[in-house]
Amino acid sequence: MTIAQATQIESEHVPGDKDVWVFVLGEMVIFSSYFFVYACLNRSVNEPVFAASRHHLNQTLALVNTLILLTSSLLIALSVQATRKRDYRVATRFVELGAGCGVLFLLLKGYEWYAKLSQGITLGTNAFFMHYFVMTGVHVLHVLIGLVFLAILRLELRTRAQPRVSLMEVGATYWHMVDFLWFLIFALLYLMR
């Protein structure tokens, strides 16, 4: 095999497998439809009620949550790297820390919701909070599914003599998607006005 062929194969590598990309690309399109109804339907983002409601959101908490997810993504990426180096003990630790960040995200999100609900702000308060609760809710659901993936990765690393790199990539791919979808939700709901 020549070097040219080798790099050719290298550049054609699908992270994980094709099936997970069907899943992830579909999820991305499905999420776009939530963004669409938020930003484009009725051109409602420019309405005064949106601007007024946005003031009730806790931007600092959301910022901290963004940084937590970012870090968790880094840890999972590092864990894939460690698996490639057959450094399984470290890879396991990275997965655990990454999942820990995910759990922390959920706790902070739960606190944020709790604060809203105790102020009497619910799903039905107004159009903005409808989008707020649905979008963050769908995202939380994805974080939960992502945590299931991470649990499977941990199981793979701990029980197999030769953990499969492709499986690690599958889980990591999904987790990174959960991460970058949050960037857009963060920008749309909390920052853009």
């Binding site: 997970v20 499905i30 439809s33 799903l123 409808m130 649905v134 769908v138 599914i145």
Partner: protein, 255 residues
């Protein structure tokens, strides 16, 4: 048991022309059922796409009375043909039982959950609208109640489908024979998520998250139809490539 098996093997194997006939009948019931379903709910019943939840009393009564005849035809047809749905579950369960490395717990769950879903998720709706169309001159409040009960049970029976998608995805992932492709399991997770999101229909009477909304109805329906088509194609391939040895001895199998 062994005497029974040998008795049946005595039947001439040559006589069997299509050993998978039962499964093909079940398979064909799926396109037949969904065509009937379209005819009943879209064309005759006028429930897909659904009428608005925010209609006034007068508008709801107008909706029932003006569609009385076609609706009644629809519910008669539903009562007659809903049983077709059971045939498709039978096939899926038979194929799920071929999986290796999983016990029958998933297949039994699928069976049970679909038995549950046929009632609150489908027939109940037909009965409620049949009740409304039966005597549209009823008190207006009662017609609104029947309208709500019909549409909300139809669009809002979520738990059965949550469980169905969940166990189906798990079964595909754990199956060591890899009978179904993995992407079908991932698609089931899309379906699972849409069922969770559809829970918003209990709060909103207009907008994208109401029962006729862009997300909770249209997105959910698109994903469901896509999933169903993929499932049907996968089932076709599964039946076609199923080794005859797995069938009953009387049909050329070595079971």
């Amino acid at each position: 048991m062994s005497t029974l098996v040998s008795d049946v093997t005595a039947a001439p194997v040559e006589a069997v022309r299509n050993p998978k006939l039962d499964q093909w009948i079940c398979w064909w019931s799926i396109p037949i059922f969904y065509n009937l379903f379209g005819l009943i709910f879209v064309y005759l019943g006028k429930l897909m796409p659904p009428p608005k939840p925010g209609l006034s009393q007068a508008e709801i009564i107008e909706f029932i009375t003006s569609n009385k005849d076609s609706m009644q035809t629809a519910w008669v047809m539903l009562a007659l043909t809903l049983g077709t749905a059971s045939l498709s579950s039978g096939l899926i369960i038979e194929q799920m039982k071929r999986m290796k490395g999983v016990s029958h717990a998933f297949a039994y769950t699928y069976l049970t959950v679909l038995a549950v879903a046929a009632l609150p998720g489908c027939l109940f709706c037909g009965i409620m609208f049949a009740l409304a169309a039966f005597r549209p001159e009823r008190d207006a409040e009662l017609i609104v109640l029947l309208y709500d009960m019909g549409l909300l049970s139809f669009v809002g029976s979520l738990g059965c489908f949550v469980t169905q998608y969940m166990v189906f995805a798990f079964a595909i992932f754990l199956d060591q024979r890899r009978l179904f492709p993995r992407w079908l399991a991932y698609m089931s997770i899309w379906g699972l998520v849409t069922e969770f999101i559809a829970a918003t229909i209990w709060t909103f009477r207009s907008g994208p998250y109401a029962w006729d909304g862009l997300i909770s109805f249209y997105l959910g329906t698109v994903i469901f139809v896509l999933w169903e088509i993929c499932l049907v194609v996968c089932l076709y391939k599964l039946i076609k490539h199923q080794p005859v040895e797995e069938l009953h001895p009387a049909y050329g199998g070595a079971r």
